[in-house]
């Protein structure tokens, strides 16, 4: 039915099967859109946020998707700037994931602000001192870059490619893609960093505050580094899900191992920095404000010390160890364990750096604040996931996302 659109030589499920899958995801999209509508029409009273939790699930979702979407800029950087050509076999996937993550983040931000129609004030009345301003600028610019990076792939669609103009455009764009990738990497370094800076600059919130270099707190660098380190793990996780669902090998193991190894070493170096940062914070920065480290971890079960262990050990050291050791990362089960744990690890980090910041009291006579999201917040956060499923399925079905697919799956 839609075979004319499907890449030549690629084997895809029947259209009705595909349509049913898309319809299931679409239900979630609709649910999310309904919740989004409620938030826009009735206001943010639809959420469980409050004056202690001005930042909550959504900001976490933003930070998390951008961190795990970091595979796009980092893989781009590795391929185009550092010239690891092998990665061209996975770069398309990384770009699609990046595009989805960033578009989702922008959408969530548009729901998250109390006055969406004034959202553009962040550009118009920009405060250059604010990390959020930096985030907004870099995020939108990098999203444009991702769109440009995504475009050639779309143009490679069998039907579109037949139009000479697009064919040429696509060809020419490939030529200059290195420039965009480099720009993207630069922008990414900044907005990943400024997202880290969002919490780190809060000098009156001792759980979040970090000292740093010039105007950038250490979290600035840690966020960039961790996105670069953990992002590829998410790209690989998605790849593994793809391969599971399609029951096909889509990218050669060598490519996967290369990326996994790089990621492993990145995570390792990141962890060293992060652990030093944690120690410095726990024994110097926080005590200077009158806090013991355990003040932040001993009020309730949820924000217990387990969360730090989960982030740094289970979601950090364990996957890093697996990924840097050749024997381990080449065992499929261990590899999957590592990339999944790593993805969770970076998500926990982002959670902690948003939500746990809000939880402990700063004034000694104040109380702990705990929060759980409302269904509207959950639905609007599921929305991007469902949207991602749809977009990525469409991309896979109609675009040559995996250059090695044909080679690996001869008819």
């Amino acid at each position: 039915m839609d075979s004319a659109l499907i890449p030549k030589g690629a084997n895809r499920c029947s259209f009705p099967t595909f349509a049913v899958g898309i319809a299931v995801a679409a239900v979630f999209v609709l649910w999310g859109v309904y919740a989004m509508g409620l938030c826009w029409l009735k206001g943010l009273n639809q959420t469980n946020m409050n004056d202690y939790y001005g930042f909550a699930l959504w900001i976490w979702a933003d930070l998390a998707v951008i961190a795990i979407g970091g595979g796009a800029f980092f893989t781009g950087l590795l391929k185009y700037v550092f010239g690891i050509d092998e990665l061209k076999n996975i770069i398309n996937l990384a770009v699609v994931i990046g595009f989805i993550c960033y578009s989702s983040a922008l959408l969530i931000l548009a729901i998250d602000i109390g006055q969406p129609l004034r959202g553009w004030f962040i550009f118009w009345h920009a405060n250059v001192h604010s990390m959020l301003t930096e985030v907004a600028f870099c995020l939108s610019l990098y999203f444009s870059v991702l769109t440009i990076e995504f475009l050639p792939l779309i143009l490679e669609n069998r039907k579109i490619d037949k139009i000479p103009f697009f064919h040429n455009l696509s060809h020419n764009m490939h030529g200059i893609m290195a420039v965009f990738a480099a720009t993207g990497a630069f922008l990414s370094c900044f907005h990943q960093g400024s997202l880290g800076g969002v919490a780190g600059v809060l000098y009156a919130r001792p759980f979040a505050f970090r000292e740093g270099l010039l105007v950038w707190p250490w979290t600035f660098f840690l966020f960039t580094w961790s996105a670069a380190a953990y992002g590829p793990c998410f790209t690989l996780t998605i790849l593994k899900i793809f391969e599971k669902v399609t029951k096909k090998k889509l990218v050669k193991d060598s490519v996967v191992y290369t990326l996994a190894k790089i990621s492993g070493w990145m995570i390792t170096t990141y962890l060293i920095a992060k652990i030093i940062d944690t120690f410095y914070w726990a024994f110097v920065t926080a005590p200077a404000a009158g806090f013991k480290m355990m003040d932040f971890y001993s009020n309730n079960g949820f924000y217990g010390i387990w969360i730090l262990i989960a982030e740094l050990v289970i979601g950090g050291i364990v996957p890093a160890a697996i990924l840097i050791k050749k024997d381990w990362r080449e065992k499929p089960k261990l590899l999957v364990t590592a990339i999944v744990l790593a993805t969770l690890g970076v998500c926990i980090n982002r959670w902690v750096m948003v939500l746990q910041v809000m939880a402990p009291p700063v004034m000694p006579f104040d109380t702990w604040a705990l929060y759980y999201p409302s269904w509207q917040e959950v639905a609007t956060s599921v929305l991007p996931v469902a949207y991602a499923v749809i977009l990525i399925s469409l991309a896979y079905r109609y675009l040559p996302v995996f250059p090695q697919e044909k080679e690996l799956n001869p008819e």
Binding site: Q115, L117, R118, W120, F121, I163, F165
Partner: protein, 724 residues
Amino acid sequence: MKIDRRSFLGLGLGAVAGVTVSPVTWKLTDDSSIWTQNWPWTPVPKDGKVTFDKTVCSLCDGNCGISVRKIAGRPVKIEGTEDYPVNQGGVCLHGLSALQYLYDPTRITGPMAKKGDTWQEISWDEALKQVCENLNKLRQDKEPEKLACMSKTDKGTIPGLFKRFLMACGSNNFVTMESMKDTWKLVISRMHNMNGVPGFDLENADCILSFGSGLIEGWGAPVHNFKVNASRKERGALLFQVEPRLSNTAASADQWIPARPGTEADLALGICSVMITGNLYDSLFVAGLGSGFEQFAKYVTTKYSPARTAEITGVKAEKIEAIAKAFARSKTGVAIAGRGRGENAGSLREFSAVHALNCLKGNINKKGGVWIVLEEDFAGWPAVDMDDTASRGFAVRRLDQAGSSKFPDIKSSASNFFAQINAGSTPPVKTLFVYEANPCYAMKDTKAVREAVKKIPFVVSFSSFMDETAQMADLILPSHMFLERMEDLPGSAMMPQKIVGLSKPVIDPVFNTKNPGDTIIMMAKAMGGAIAESFPWKGYDACLESVAGELWKSLSKKGYVLQKENSPEIQPFVDFACSALTSDRIAAQGDDSFSVTLIPYDHVKIAAGKLQSSPFAVKTVSDKVLKNNDGFIEINPVTAEKLNLSQGDYAALSTPKGKAKVKVHLSEGIMPGVAAMAAGLGHTGENRYVAGKGINVNELLGPVKDSGSGLDAAFGIKAKISRA
């Protein structure tokens, strides 16, 4: 032109680019944000000329001078009047919220009559006609005494008009809500044989021994006392606060002395005992003017040694001695009584014992002491013209037995009034006027009060708001609220100065209401005959001007009159062999199966009595007092452990009078074995900002009659608490 796919795509892209750079897009973006800045549903208050109107707040008896800021005639803000003698610029949060009362959506918008279960708006003429028909019938049936009136107070010309109206009709049943003033008056009359109320010169006292009096909760003239308390630091004046719960007053006191509830009299006598034993009293004063001192001294020294007092009260013996010494050492120590805001009568024994301390100090009618302020009505009323029916009805004994041989020296007893109505099968009251009072909410055992009110065939409310009693009325003749009306406000808030304030309208009535003074005069005129003749004035304003006499000029000019401290600086006679020795000791109702004592407490941020809290006031209340619609009890962790309760748990609370589901707040600021619940919550009705929130503690309490006074002296009740 043929549009092929290529040019179509080109056009499409062109369109996108065009829209992006087109000014329309930018204009729309800008306009949409401007729209959010001017949402039509977000009000834009109108500007105009700024003026200030001075008047006097009468939301409580404090009667603070306030200044109303108006914009183009529209009141927008209440502020305190700097030079007003009561409050010197300060205002309490209820007064600050007065405009919320003015525009309260549950205000009564015009006269209403109940048809079945629903209210019908009627005209003033129709309303007056209904009242007259009813009263004429009573008078024709020769039972005018079956008309009664319940009012918060008998002070001032509007209550005066009500009283006068009853008299002209032929009823002596003008009943006022009980308060500590009734008991204080009794104490003054029994111990000094004088007709007056005490005026405590706390401003100049250097040591205040307060037996549960909520100087910060709203006792006496609230704002005045806030100031008195604040000035203590500079003056070096001490405050000892005796009460089982660490109230705001206790928190700001120099010492909080938690004594078992109901043992305040014992503690006072224990302190007397230390003073007498140590010869720490003003012997000159006592010897010169006291009678019965020997008897008193013997009684307290034998029965109230520090050790024995400690046993009764739970206050350590050393502490009792220390307090006694500090009090004795002070130059102008004053002891005060009346729990919380003093909106209950309290125990005669307790008040007498506390006043005995003042007498031992010899600090009567002196600067920094207790002044006996003689009760004199400034108003010069012409005689009432009573016809035969009226004379006969007026002579019938009061229903509440006040002034009878049983209770000779009280003027009214609201608790007994309702008890008598409930006692008989045929209602002894056929028509009840309710003015500035909300007995169906504010009196203990509200269920019984409501039953009594239900028995009365015709209840007329003069309320401005749909309060609990108005909800039960048959007819409402709504009054202006204070910002809309003229009224004299004779100070009656335990201050030594006699201040008469004048409340003046600062805005035209918002609704179809009347000054209650006018309503009464119109009613009288409609009744005709001798009744009409007793009300010769054109309207209330003319009446006030005429009865105020000489006072009117300065009153209307200045907004208040500070009458000379009319008490002579003479030392009055003191009878020590007083009620402290003879009166009942009041116990909490309930047998031993109830393990805890429940006490109501007044909270400065929660209005109680006739006043319902404003939305602003409710907003300031802690979430440890009210959470969603749940009310709390406050208990000590020790009590909680015994009851297996933790912070925030639901508990079932039951007393001999009622049951409630409450939340538990654990606090170290309350005695073990005591549970405290804030008064002023649990209103019913339509006011969504106040009604249905928490529990009306009066539903759980019952009155305990003090046989010495005939008034309700309950301080709490026994209760059971278990996990719910």
